[in-house]
């Protein structure tokens, strides 16, 4: 029941079942590889088998003559000089010399780099023929260690050297802070190379319409409008002749849906051959072709006063970006240093990062880019500092966390082109709440019990700051059809996060309809040509606010028409459950369907000059991000014999502003934590000394199973609504993984009783055994 307002509030805040579920549970989802077109051809990439070398020649005759082969394409067949531009330009970095070509023309720089593509009538024939392509490569030394690659004597991967960017962010008098410190603590922390690895490999179908020249694309997700526009530019087409369709996607996590070489090749082939072309990568390709992430070395130090308060913080980061700068440019290293001070009061800060190119798969974002890495380094530093200062790990955090009355806090830095302004919140209160929840759930008792039983058991704690709701804008259309069905056309994309359900709840709430009435289409470039895509934990915040505005506009328009139909004042009308009624006279009512029909052309309720239809398009703009925050706590056992780490308990406490669907927020946090456990303990892209990938199957790239992931406890708080959007929401996509490396490093360090840092993630059995034997680094 609503009182005194015409907007029911039931739809937001309910853990309603997902709209996505029925089709996915029945096997009726439509993923990129599920589509098929008559006369469809299949593409297969030929990739470099060596890490670095000069491409002397590519022999394609045998492949071209093979059964069923339609064409074999090399760089020589393509327009010259094709390279994939950076999507996110920041810090005025000029990366033109380091961009990845669509197909390598004269130099190969990592194993897996595309050098040719074979097109055949079926995928088996294409794969057979790809093996007949003869590559003559003059091998050169591989460059695998980023710190060495940055030095003057390293073999050069590019004429300009191996350092693509070297920049420093910060503010305040760092040298002065360190000069007057009572204690300086410095550690080195290394983060292992790992990545998103969604369960569905990439797939792309391009289908040309010979009559109109239109190109239909299936399988581009994340930023479909950006990719459509880029593809149109590269192909020299009008962008409205490209239609990127909405499809299901088997997980994204940052890596899927960026513009890769294949995203040019497949549409180009379809257009050139005038035939539908399908490409589906296999897992072996995926693990060497799709963006890697995370690999960094931090030399981090903090200056403290006698009471353990931070006076200054500095970090020197070497970021291993692999062989090229791809669409993300340098945003991962930028986010690393921009977000490094986290939720703490840091009066002076300097973060330097060198972005180094090596003979490995190029890098991009992976869920919580820069925060997973930076939080690990910073929180490990605080643990070591607490030990040296002889205060508890909680105490050092609560003394340094920014208090509620210190927010908003502007840091004189920018990231993703926006100023860093920590908007609102109560960080110490959430730390206390997380501790209380862990106590209630028996974490400390479990640690004690284990230790009494002689186990190497440890408790980890880590606080973190997230960011979400990146602008600059999102656009949404809301249309009510003649049946009363409400259609939302949003610029987000469905990657498994449940955004269809969330946007339906927001639309229903603003419109006064039931979520069941609402259907949501995400990421169709014809339906929503101004979408910004789903990434950076932005969709609930930015797309949600756009949907809120559009649905609110439709509600107002519906009330205007209903007032004419009911001969009532629009101000006296109540909109709920898809009905608009006169307040105090529920019998005087019309349904949304009736209102929609009353807006048809020639309707007596339409005034001259008014457009027909019940719909609205609205744009939501935002200048600053909103910064969620949280705390992770974990209990682990270390097996002194094998070095294996078992995660026994895991709690994520997270301030989300307002949870549109709390079960989906919990799902994001749990899934993120599971990925974080993988990155902290198991997953790593390893290379041998020649640059050959050693993690090219799921036997060697070890993602966590149900045996490695314990039940994840979550504490979702809604105490600090975001001030910058009408819903008060903060993004929830990345808080589950942000501090996973930090908390597990903290827990293992505690279990082993180390004085110094754990030094390096992932904490594989071999690494943990070494720590147990030799102790931690300084």
């Amino acid at each position: 029941m609503t009182t005194g307002t015409s907007i029911p509030r039931g739809a937001i805040g309910a853990s309603m079942a997902r709209k996505e579920d029925p089709r996915l549970l029945r096997g009726r989802g439509r993923f990129g590889g599920d589509f098929a077109r008559p006369g469809q051809l299949w593409a297969r990439l030929v990739r470099s088998p060596v890490a670095h070398g000069r491409l002397r020649s590519i022999g394609t005759d045998d492949a071209a003559r093979a059964d069923g082969v339609v064409t074999v394409v090399t760089a020589a067949s393509l327009p010259p000089g094709l390279a994939i531009p950076v999507r996110l330009q920041v810090q005025d970095a000029d990366l033109r010399d380091y961009l990845q070509p669509v197909l390598a023309a004269d130099t190969v720089r990592y194993v897996g780099e595309p050098v040719a593509v074979v097109v055949a009538g079926d995928p088996y024939a294409a794969e057979d023929a790809a093996e007949l392509v003869d590559l003559d490569i003059d091998e050169a030394p591989a460059v695998l260690d980023a710190a060495a690659a940055a030095g003057p004597d390293a073999p050069r991967l590019f004429p300009g050297g191996n350092v693509a960017a070297d920049f420093t962010l910060g503010y305040g008098d760092v040298a002065g802070a360190f000069a007057r410190a009572d204690r300086i603590v410095e550690i080195a922390v290394e983060i292992g190379r790992h990545g998103a690895v969604p369960l569905e490999p990439r797939a792309l179908l391009a289908d040309p319409d010979p009559a109109t020249g239109r190109l239909s694309i299936f399988g581009m997700t994340k930023v479909p409008v950006f990719n459509r526009d880029l593809l149109a530019t590269l192909l020299g087409m009008d962008e409205t002749l490209i239609h990127v369709h909405a499809v299901d996607a088997g997980g994204g996590f940052g890596a899927r849906g960026e513009f890769y070489p294949e995203d040019f090749l497949v549409p180009w082939l379809a257009r050139t051959l005038r035939r539908p072309v399908m490409w589906v990568e296999d897992r072996g390709e995926h693990l060497v072709a799709v963006n890697h992430s995370r690999q960094q070395v931090h030399q981090i130090a903090a200056a403290f006063d006698t009471s353990g308060r931070i006076l200054g913080l500095r970090d020197d980061v070497v970021h291993d970006n692999g062989a090229y700068c791809r669409t993300h440019g340098i945003i991962v290293p930028e986010l690393t240093v921009a977000m490094l001070p986290g939720p703490y009061r840091v009066p002076a800060y300097r973060g330097r990062v060198r972005v180094v190119l090596t003979s490995k798969t190029p890098c991009g974002t992976y869920r919580a880019p820069g925060r997973f890495e930076g939080s690990t380094a910073r929180e490990q530093l605080l643990d070591v500092a607490a030990h040296q200062l002889k205060i508890s790990r909680n105490e050092i955090r609560s003394r340094n966390l920014l208090r509620a009355d210190e927010l908003p806090c502007q840091r004189s830095m920018s990231t993703l082109g926006t100023d860093v302004v920590l908007d609102a919140g109560d960080y110490p209160a959430l730390l206390a709440a997380a501790q209380a929840e862990a106590d209630r759930l028996g974490y400390p008792d479990e640690v004690e019990r284990g230790r009494r039983a002689g186990r190497l058991r440890g408790l980890g704690v880590a606080a973190f700051l997230e960011k979400s709701g990146l602008g600059p804008q999102e656009t949404a259309d809301v249309v009510v059809s003649r049946t009363g069905a409400v259609h939302v056309f949003s610029g987000g994309t469905s990657l498994g996060q449940g955004i269809e359900t969330v946007l339906a709840q927001i639309a229903a709430d603003a419109l006064g309809a039931d979520p069941d009435q609402v259907s949501v289409v995400n990421g169709d470039t014809d339906r929503q040509p101004f979408g910004g895509g789903s990434w950076a934990s932005r969709s609930t915040v930015v797309a949600g606010s756009a949907v809120h505005a559009a649905a609110g506009a439709v509600r107002d328009r519906a009330a205007e028409i209903a007032a004419r139909m009911l001969e009532a004042d629009p101000g006296d009308l109540v909109s709920e459950h898809g009905r608009i009624s006169v307040r105090g006279d529920p019998g005087a009512a019309v349904t949304l369907a009736e209102v929609a029909r009353a807006t048809a052309p020639a309707s007596p309720y339409l005034r001259p000059g008014e457009p027909a239809g019940l719909s609205a398009r609205r744009r939501f703009e935002v200048a600053h991000m909103t910064y969620p925050y949280g705390v992770h706590l974990a209990v682990v056992d270390v097996d002194p014999g094998t070095g294996g780490v078992q995660v026994l308990r895991y709690l994520v406490a997270y301030e989300v502003g307002r949870a549109v669907n709390p079960a989906l927020v919990a799902g994001q946090l749990r899934g993120g934590a599971a990925q974080g456990i993988g990155g902290a303990l198991l997953e790593e892209f390893c290379y041998d000394e020649n640059g050959q990938p050693q993690s090219a199957t799921f036997m060697d790239y070890r993602m966590p199973t149900a045996a490695e992931v314990p039940p994840i406890d979550v504490l979702i708080t809604q105490d600090s609504p975001a001030p910058g959007n009408p819903l008060g929401v903060r993004g929830a996509g990345e808080g589950g993984v942000s501090a996973a490396g930090a908390v597990l490093a903290s827990a293992v360090r505690d279990a082993l009783g180390l004085a110094g840092s754990v030094g390096r993630l992932p904490l594989t059995p071999a690494r943990v055994q070494e720590l147990a034997t030799n102790g931690g680094g300084r």
Partner: protein
């Protein structure tokens, strides 16, 4: 020269007769020749389990079997689980417990679980109510990158208990 065989296979109770190349995997045959695209391919080397189907009632990785090996056999895929418009009890439990996000691994987990639940029902387990630990071990056969497994474990556990309770005299 293609080595093609004429085979008969029953999928979700429906007979199919088709000519299939000897090297064509069961997964590709189901997806591309017969249109059962609910069976997904996540790794094509038998680790992730997204392609799990039931062959004569037992879970099998459809990426590790050739189509010709299914000649004369009964194959069950995710498309056969729901009864008309109604989701099966297991599918409903997956939705209720938020055991899926992107849904790519989901068909494989559903078929893996159906195979396990059938085994329980046939009394090949230890007879008692399955524990969460036992379910976790079963669920650990497949990979999910989204959920952290908790909803999947809960859904299978809930369905196992409900089906056992229904069998009680």
């Amino acid at each position: 020269m293609k080595d093609t065989h004429l085979i008969r296979v029953r999928v979700n109770g429906r007979e199919h007769e088709l000519a299939v190349e000897s090297r064509r995997t069961l997964a590709d045959m189901l997806r591309h020749d017969l249109g059962y695209t609910g069976t997904h391919l996540g790794c094509e080397h038998g680790i992730c389990g997204a392609c799990t189907v039931l062959v004569d009632g037992a879970p099998a990785r459809a990426c590790l079997m050739f189509g010709v090996q299914a000649d004369g056999q009964d194959v069950a895929t995710v498309e056969g689980l729901a009864d008309g418009e109604d989701l099966s009890d297991l599918q409903q439990a997956f939705s209720d417990r938020h055991g899926l996000q992107c849904g790519f691994c989901t068909p494989g987990f559903l078929m893996l679980a159906e195979g396990y639940l059938a085994e329980l029902q046939a009394g090949r387990g230890d007879g008692g109510e399955p524990s969460e630990q036992q379910i976790r071990e079963v669920v650990a056969a497949n990979l999910c990158r989204c959920t952290g497994y908790q909803g999947i474990v809960e859904a299978v556990l809930e369905t196992a208990r409900r089906r056992q309770a229904m069998e009680m005299p």
